[in-house]
């Protein structure tokens, strides 16, 4: 098992006191499997994704990623786990504007010390970015930017890809194309995928689906 989330809870402070976002959420994901996390706005999908990535700290529960308990890690340990085991894809693309497409693609793999030039070249070709490697992020369309973000996440062959609404900023046709590319490459890399999405149509293309409602896993 690549991911095991057990009874995870998270709340945020507000003027009215603490507001629970996640309450006793549990899920698991096998290596090479894909899981769609669906739910309405505010259901806690993105928060759960952030907790799994070690970007935020949970109040209670446990998250085991590739056999490592995230809750037991300090900031540096969580950063190392993200570097080595996780690939992140965001709705806003979040490319590094100061680096060109080629450097963006290779960035995380080089950060993790696992840069494989042949695999990166293959990803670039497969994602249709071969002719765009010297371009800057602000010279690309939204669909092209998201393909760079997917390539960046896959370049290090991470154990788990966490994707937060990866097609949310794209039109339907482009979104379908991008998702198709991502699923194909995830399968090719043997990586697991946890994807947050609003769309049932897109969720149906993944191996499993899990619905969150008001911070709980819907039955």
């Amino acid at each position: 098992m690549i991911l095991a989330v057990t009874e995870v809870s998270k709340s945020y402070a507000s003027a009215e006191g603490r507001v629970p976002v996640l309450s006793g959420v549990s899920l698991s994901l096998q290596a090479g499997q894909s899981l769609a996390l669906t739910g309405e706005s505010g259901s806690g999908k993105s928060t759960l994704l952030h907790l799994i990535a070690g970007l935020d700290a949970m109040d209670a529960g446990e998250i085991m990623l590739a056999g490592v308990s995230i809750s037991g890690l300090q900031d540096a340990g969580r950063a190392a786990l993200r570097r080595d085991k996780i690939g992140l894809v965001f709705q806003q693309f979040n490319l590094i504007p100061s680096l060109d497409v080629g450097a963006n693609l290779a960035f995380q793999a080089r950060l993790a010390g696992r840069h494989d030039a042949a695999w990166a070249a293959h990803l670039a070709e497969a994602l249709g970015l071969g002719g765009l490697l010297r371009r800057w992020p602000d010279q690309l369309s939204g669909g092209q930017q998201q393909r760079v973000a997917i390539g960046r996440a896959l370049a290090a062959r991470p154990a788990l890809i966490l994707a937060d609404e990866p097609t949310g900023n794209l039109d339907e046709a482009t979104g379908d194309t991008v998702l198709g590319l991502m699923l194909g490459l995830v399968a090719e890399a043997g990586t697991s995928l946890l994807m947050v999405t609003h769309s049932q149509r897109l969720a149906a293309r993944l191996d499993r689906q899990l619905h969150l409602s008001s911070g709980r896993v819907a039955p």
Partner: protein
């Protein structure tokens, strides 16, 4: 509607208090440095006006002795009888450094501005003539040594008199100063024509178009003003930075206000009101700070002006309406200048404009190209001013073009360096670091330009001062070659002392001097002619810059004259050119350096001097003797001849005094230099804090991919240091160019002498360290804030709706 709209616009500052603080700080420091210097200038100029008003100095034609000797009351009476409308003036010295000015109120021309003496202007002379009355400024009268000197006299306050000056009837002045029957000059009534040609033995000294001291000190004040403008510009960089971001961050609000029915004109007016209020707040704080700054610097400025030009300036500051109003005006003008672009955009804002705060920090390729072109154009202008311009303003035009051009070229030069850094870097983090630093450059470029100006000004002025110091010290060694200098009280005492000294010392060198106008009819200036002995002291040591072959033989024979550098430069006199002197013109045999003296000076051989100025007896002597015998000789002389304080001055004391005057001369410049560097540090801090929030979208993904906040903060600090170091390194050659312009162009125009430029790498190292410390101080706080940011702040970057 207006109230609601203004509330919405102003609410931004409640949410961003740091930005508001930076804006007000920028305005306050810019105004403070500007108004502080203006306060000093205003105080000094007021002092010159007071001096000129009392003396009628060079504002009226006057008759003086053609050989530099004093006139007499008898001569005055003779001229009056011959129909000359003249009035005698006597200048003398009293104990305690007090200057006394004697006038004859009954004959004083009505046009003479005698503001210092109450009653004179209105024609009421009773208060002036009854009893032994003297007038002086209240601050002068308050000094204990003055009170002692004036004991027994009726001292009356006259606020408009310059410091350490006493005005009295000429008879009283003659008695108090020990110059019976003497007259320094005869003032001519401008309303009554001269009855004939100027009598023999007298020369007409025409009225100067403006006040002499003010003219001499203009360059000093211009230097200070130039610094103030530089510091103001650096402060305005901060203002521009804060206002620019505030405009961009509020575009959303402004768009909404427009959509809700507020006209562009009304919106622009509200923003203008907001800016004016901010300018008034920042300007008022700046005026207060400027007053404190001026009060702290004024004693040094007063000492400088006194030491360098003999201008008396009080060391106490008055709050003058002129510079307060001018300071507020500058604050408003600076704010509008800094906000001009934003204000224009508000006026032109389409209702559907999109807020892009990040775009504010960026600069497009077209903008960068324009910057480079403008920078090159400014450098071309500077080169043109250097080759074709004349006068002090041309010098400042060169400086302005050089500095502003470099500032505009700075981002492109740094960008090229960072590009190379990225290309040559190994490792992904290093590569990202260089690339990201280059990406941040537009947002930091204003602050870096400010740092460039501050560091280059420091290098330039520092090099100038250090060159000056090194040259000046060497020059003092040459110029003050004799071990002991003696001034006798009378010709008879001088003769007695000389006779006593001759068998006891190696040489007794008489020093004779006379004040005469030097130069041609069109460019004559008050100057001094010296007579010196033909001795190895001069032949071996005198700081000659140029000389004909056998120059000292020519001087000894009376076949030539030596002139100082400023006379040579200002009057265009080279070797062989004829110099008009009493008793006939002589060719220039040599030119010598004469730092610290603004007036023309000439030197003749002793016998030539005595022939041309027969009435002058030598009272001053330079004594040559072994250095270890100086103390004993001084003691013996004092005892034997009952010499008063100041009659003997040893070489070391003169050098120490001269160096002290020199150091104070540049104390103000050094203080302004440090303050400018400090303001540049604040500009960096302002920019870094401003960029901190804008940078999160670029940092958050890197953090998400596995770099810790601590490491990112460390890299951010290193980035600030790298940019500061790059800027400071580029500022070095710029500063040296600046030093060259100051030494070879501005100084020559301002002071009349040119100094050899010397470089001091140890000073550069200290300055580089200072720049790095300033950058470190500016960078630490934003880095700490980044390190301590809550993950939620970074996660918000990834949120689907921000």
């Amino acid at each position: 509607m207006i109230h609601a709209a203004l509330g919405a616009i102003l609410s931004h500052w409640r949410r961003h208090p740091l930005q508001l603080a930076m804006l007000v700080t920028g305005l306050a420091v810019a105004t403070a440095l500007w108004s502080g210097v203006q306060a000093i200038n205003a105080e000094a100029r007021a002092a010159y006006d007071r001096a000129a008003g009392v003396l009628g100095q060079d504002r009226l034609d006057r008759l003086v002795g053609s050989d530099g000797t004093d006139l007499t009351i008898e001569g005055f009476a003779r001229l009056r009888r011959a129909g000359w409308a003249v009035s005698p003036v006597l200048e003398g010295q009293l104990d305690g450094g007090l200057r006394i000015l004697g006038i004859e109120p009954l004959t004083l021309p009505r046009g003479a501005a005698m503001a210092g003496a109450p009653g004179l202007a209105s024609g009421d002379l009773t208060g002036f003539l009854v009893g032994e009355v003297v007038f002086a400024a209240p601050e002068t009268l308050a000094r204990p040594e003055v009170a002692a000197t004036l004991a027994g006299l009726m001292a009356r306050p006259a606020p408009d008199l310059p410091p350490m000056t006493v005005l009295a009837d000429i008879g009283l002045a003659a008695r108090l100063s020990g110059q019976p029957e003497a007259v320094t000059a005869l003032i001519l009534d401008p309303n009554r024509p001269a009855p004939g040609p100027v009598p023999a033995g007298l020369i007409l000294k025409p009225a100067a178009p403006d006040d002499g001291i003010a003219r001499l000190t203009d360059s000093f004040h211009l230097n200070l003003t130039a610094f103030a403008v530089l510091a103001f510009a650096v402060g305005i960089f901060i203002v521009h930075s804060a206002i620019g971001l505030a405009f961009e961050q509020r575009r959303g609000v402004m768009r909404t206000l427009r959509a809700l029915g507020l006209s562009a004109r009304m919106l622009g007016a509200l923003v203008l009101v907001e800016l004016l209020v901010l300018a008034l707040i920042g300007g008022s704080i700046g005026i207060g700070l400027g007053y404190l700054l001026a009060a702290a610097l004024l004693p040094d400025v007063a000492a400088t002006l006194g030491g360098l030009y003999g201008a008396a300036v009080p060391g106490v500051l008055e709050l003058r309406a002129a510079w307060v109003v001018a300071g507020i005006g500058m604050a408003v003008a600076g704010t509008l200048l800094a906000a001009g672009q934003g204000l224009w955009q508000v006026w032109q804002l389409p209702p559907l404009a999109i807020a892009r705060p990040q775009a504010w920090a960026g600069a497009g390729a077209a903008t960068r190209r324009l910057q480079v072109l403008a920078g090159l154009a400014l450098w071309a202008g500077a080169a043109l001013a250097l080759t074709s311009g004349t006068g002090l303003w041309a010098g400042f035009a060169v400086l302005t073009g050089l500095l502003l051009g470099a500032a505009l070229l700075l981002p492109t030069l740094l960008s090229a360096g960072l590009f190379l850094g990225a290309r040559w870097s190994r490792g992904v983090v290093a590569h990202w670091f260089w690339a990201d630093t280059r990406h941040q450059l537009p947002g930091l470029s204003l602050a870096l330009m400010a740092l460039l100006l501050a560091v280059s000004a420091n290098v330039g002025v520092g090099t100038m001062v250090a060159s000056f110091r090194a040259t000046f010290t060497g020059w003092l060694d040459q110029r003050l070659a004799s071990e002991l200098y003696l001034t006798a009280e009378s010709p008879s005492q001088a003769a007695e002392i000389r006779g006593w000294l001759l068998p006891r010392v190696d040489a007794v060198l008489p020093i004779l001097s006379v004040e005469v106008p030097l130069g041609g009819p069109s460019n004559s200036q008050p100057g001094e002619v010296f007579g010196v002995a033909d001795h190895a002291t001069y032949r071996d040591k005198w700081p000659l810059l140029a000389g004909v072959p056998g120059v000292w033989d020519a001087i000894a024979r009376g076949d030539g004259v030596l002139i100082n550098e400023q006379m040579s430069l200002r009057q265009g006199l080279g070797l062989g050119d004829m110099v008009a002197l009493p008793g006939g013109a002589l060719p220039v045999a040599g030119v010598y350096s004469d730092y610290g003296n603004p007036a023309p000076q000439a030197m003749l051989g002793l016998s030539t001097f005595e022939r041309r100025f027969p009435g002058k007896a030598a009272l001053r002597f330079a004594l040559r003797l072994p250095p270890d015998e100086v103390a004993a000789m001084a003691k013996a002389l004092t005892k034997r001849f009952d010499l008063g304080e100041g009659a003997l001055v040893d070489q070391a004391a003169v050098k120490a005094f001269s160096l002290r005057v020199f150091e104070r001369t540049f104390a103000v410049t050094a203080a302004l230099n440090t303050l400018t560097l400090g303001v540049a540090g604040i500009a960096m801090l302002a920019s870094l804090l401003t960029l901190a929030s804008l940078r999160l979208p670029q940092l958050a993904p890197v953090w998400a991919m596995g770099l810790t906040q601590r490491r990112l903060a460390g890299l951010d600090l290193v980035r600030t240091l790298v940019l500061a170091m790059g800027t400071a390194l580029l500022a070095l050659p710029l500063g040296l160019a600046l030093a060259w312009v100051l030494l070879a162009v501005v100084n020559v125009e301002a002071f009349g002498w040119r100094l050899p430029m010397q470089v001091f790498p140890a000073d550069w190292l200290r300055l580089l360290l200072a720049a790095l410390v300033a950058a470190l101080v500016a960078g630490v706080f934003p880095a700490l804030r980044l390190m301590q940011r809550q993950p939620a702040d970074l996660l918000r970057i990834f949120a689907n709706e921000r």
